[in-house]
Amino acid sequence: MLTLQCPYCGVDAEETELQGGGEAHLKRFGPGSNDDDFEGYLFLRENQKGIHFERWRHAYGCGKWFLAARHTNTLEVFGTYPAQSTEPPQHIKDAISAKLPGWKWGNFS
């Protein structure tokens, strides 16, 4: 059972109230980009065993999108943060480092 705290309404939302939205922090490559960048944007994902950053929507609650850092294997949640964030907040990075020293995910570490 996965429980994520929605950073907008503060509810500890159980997973049946949520809708997953795939990987977070994707950089969009649209018209004018080269084929490699466009392919990466469309298809290539981190998808690693361990720390992962994802988009979630509080679908049955306040309806807002937010981001979450969780461990794909243990389901441990390191924190949730607003969808407008371009990178995970420092306190979440610190929480991950405490558990997974030397972690790396995309451009974050």
Partner: protein, 188 residues
Amino acid sequence: MSNAVTPLGGAKTNIGGLTLEDMGLQGMISLRGDLSSKALAKAVKAVTGQGVPELRTANVMGGKGAAWMSPDELLLFVPYAEADAAVATISETMKAEHHLAVNVSDARGFMRLSGAGAHEVMSKNAPVDFHKDVFTAGMFRRSRLGQVAAAFWLDAEGGFNVVCFRSVADYVYRLLEVSAEAGAVDAL
């Protein structure tokens, strides 16, 4: 003019010590905008007589008030016949600000579950902590009931007021009815 009816047709059921009832025609307005705005507060006060509700609360009394739906949305409760006039008042009061106000009265079902053990019946259907010390009067929550979206708050008299989409009102009513028939779970 058409004869407005509720999706539940005034249904009322007594099961054990519980009462489940259609709340009848209720004016409801979906209002989106900046909840910290003075104009919004003025508009809410003008049509409901209440202030802007705090995070996840409702201040509905006697069919008038407001409920916190999201960081930029309220559901306003006004008498059914006054809903269109209330939307006009909001539009006028907030005309200088980006906002959205829509009369959704006929798009909703509205019922109430009260009596001893009502919180247990709710517990069977939503992933929400309904313990009496946790879910207290005035608290408002959007979640799901069984398989459909619903919003609810606990009033000062101990009744759960449930709002759902009109198309699933019958499902929600029967869901609560069946859950009530099975009795308390004695877990809370």
